[in-house]
Symmetry: none
Subunit: 89 residues, 2 copies
């Protein structure tokens, strides 16, 4: 089953969290999020992992994106009734 293993660029993840791309890089460097390194040294993040961290309280869908390479428009991903996330300091 494809859970959405598409890889996101730091800019994409930064836009999802409303943070700076450098901050996403810092998360990967701190081990808070898995990262795949390109041969050149750049990082790519798995969409499934990013969305797992993005769970706050409510469904959310894609923000504006001119290039949506996913013709599959099946919002079957829902039912997220989990309580508040367990963000620990």
């Amino acid at each position: 089953m494809d859970t959405g293993d598409r890889l996101l660029t730091p800019g994409e993840v930064a836009a999802l969290f409303r943070v700076d791309p450098k901050t996403v890089t810092r998360w990967a460097a701190a081990g808070r999020i898995g990262s795949i390194r390109t041969p050149g040294g750049h990082r790519r993040f798995r969409e499934s992992e990013v969305r797992a961290l993005l769970e706050g309280e409510g469904v959310l869908d894609d923000l504006d994106d001119g290039a949506n390479r996913s013709p599959n428009s099946g919002p079957a991903q829902s039912g997220n009734h989990g309580p508040t996330n367990a963000g620990l300091h």
Copy 2:
């Protein structure tokens, strides 16, 4: 329709409500407003939810400071004078 799920920083919400960022943090801690935590522990708020709480248009009967100065000659003053605030006490 456009829900406007942009994320706002505590400083943004504080500026919208004219309060201290710490107050916004307490609202999130008290569960009065949904919050998304970044892996670093900082909070992000949904603009749609903030605007829903920021409703000032429509009905506005909130003008008394709690001291009734004319108990008589008053119209059918119902006991409920609170706005649409769902905050329990």
